[in-house]
């Protein structure tokens, strides 16, 4: 196999020591980068150079590096998870950027995602939303018979599509209002569509949406930027469903 021509880039990266630091953009050179390197591997290479020079490496989040954990983040050239449809930052490759390009890398920005360091923000607001209702209460023990709960196939598909959300927060980062509606809608939809989710259906919708507001996320204006950047292609129709769930829970339930 022939070696592909290496590429050089200029990076403009947000550097911020801690939550109290004002932060600023810093410029770095990324040189001799293989087009087959992933974006995060490119950052690793830059960081190795920084460490060798005795400088503080750029802090960024990642874990699985295969698009399933939701840990990686970053707004790259103004787009959450960078260019490319249905991919997380860890699935982005340097071949997506022309040789010599200047790449702007920023953290997810939202009042509800306070900065930790550089590109790392605190997304635990999502955990608190889940804890407020993103679960079903069932007795564990012997496995129930497979046909106890009948789920029509199209409904199962919708629930599975919603369940694909990895909780990365790109929807919040991309939303002009820093709204978390797509995330919350995915979680509410996933459970409200299935029989197991029925007993807590109304309380779940009200509690999760209340928690979302208390965490200082914005409101949904139906722009659809969230859907466009979502690495799991969560659909806006989940937000419409959540609006229905909220209206139903507010007007027709005992909650």
């Amino acid at each position: 196999m022939t070696e592909k021509a290496k590429r050089n880039y200029t990076l403009k990266v947000w550097r911020q020591k801690d939550a109290h630091d004002a932060g600023r953009m810093a410029e770095y050179r990324a040189e001799g980068i293989s087009p087959d390197a992933s974006f995060l591997e490119m950052l690793d290479i830059v960081n190795e150079q920084l460490v060798r020079k005795g400088e503080d490496p750029i802090a960024f989040d990642s874990d699985c590096r295969e698009g399933i954990c939701g840990m990686c983040s970053c707004v790259i050239d103004g787009r959450a998870h960078g260019p490319g449809a249905a991919t997380a930052t860890c699935q982005l490759h340097m071949r997506a950027f022309e040789d010599g390009a200047t790449i702007v890398v920023e953290p997810f920005r939202a009042r509800a995602f306070p900065p930790v360091k550089d590109l790392v923000v605190d997304r635990s607001a999502f955990d608190r939303i889940i804890a407020s209702g993103g679960f079903v209460s069932v007795n564990v023990g012997s496995a129930p018979d497979g046909n106890t709960h009948l789920v029509p196939h199209p409904v199962a598909e919708k629930a599975m599509d919603a369940a694909a959300c990895i909780g990365c927060g790109a929807c919040v980062a991309a939303c002009p209002n820093a709204s978390a509606m797509l995330f919350v809608a995915a979680k509410i939809s996933q459970l409200s569509l299935l029989p197991q989710g029925q007993p807590e259906r109304a309380a779940r919708a009200l509690n999760m949406l209340k928690r979302m507001e208390d965490e200082d996320f914005g409101n949904c204006s139906n722009h659809g930027e969230c859907e466009a950047v979502c690495p799991k292609e969560i659909k806006l129709s989940n937000i419409a469903r959540t609006n229905r769930e909220f209206i139903r829970a507010s007007v027709c339930s005992d909650e």
Binding site: G78, M212, F217, G218, A228, S250
Partner: protein, 210 residues
């Protein structure tokens, strides 16, 4: 009553109020435009229509209802917009459109505020005009002022922009969404926005060119 207060002050609750008031205002636009088009029928026809409208005993109630719809829409829109600005205290250095937002959706508060300014001037010139004996003549005279006619046309462009997103958005907010008909609501919204904007704007253009 706690539940009602909670619902109306919630994020989706505010959006629902904005959507309902906005869509009802769209209904008002249809009746208002239909009435205005009588201008094309000449002085007698328009003044006859205006007289019938003013003699309708339900008109004051309808006007108060309309005012309340506007106030509700504007109040919730401003509350929602304030919350949205507050939710992102630090702006991005670089932003790109990922393919969701449109010029219409990104400018809702600006097109809305221009409409508000227009509404104040509009109600003052026409609804509270000093001499209301010949409304046809009054409208025609007002549009002889090119600046006023231009402002009217600009406001109708803003209305078209507002509704290019608002119409569909209202349905989405109310949860009326399904692959069976959502593409049609989007198309209908664009057609409605264009029809209303051109319909209203045609009158000052026609009147000032006559």
């Amino acid at each position: 009553m706690g539940w009602l207060f909670r619902t109306l002050n919630s994020s989706i609750g505010k959006k629902v109020q904005m959507a309902l008031s906005g869509l009802l205002l769209c209904g008002f636009l249809v009746t208002h435009l239909a009435g205005n088009l009588f201008l094309y029928g000449g002085r007698e026809m328009f003044n006859h229509y205006a007289k019938a409208l003013e003699e309708n005993p339900l008109l004051p109630a309808a006007e108060i209802g309309l005012l309340l719809l506007f106030l509700l829409h504007i109040a919730t829109a401003l509350r929602v917009t304030y919350g949205n600005k507050r939710a992102r205290p630090v702006a991005y250095a670089k932003t790109a459109c990922a393919g969701g937002k449109t010029i219409g959706s990104a400018t809702m508060v600006f097109s809305g505020l221009l409409l508000l300014a227009f509404l104040i001037v509009h109600v003052k010139t026409f609804r509270f005009a000093p001499d209301r004996s010949d409304l046809y003549a009054m409208v025609m005279a007002a549009f002889q002022n090119k600046l006023y006619a231009g402002f009217y046309v600009a406001a109708m462009a803003a209305l078209g922009l507002h509704l290019s997103h608002g119409f569909w958005s209202g349905f989405q907010t109310l949860g009326a969404d399904h692959p069976k008909y959502t593409p049609w609501i989007k198309r209908l919204g664009l057609a409605f926005a264009a029809a209303v904007a051109f319909g209203f704007a045609s009158i000052p253009i026609w009147a000032s060119l006559r």
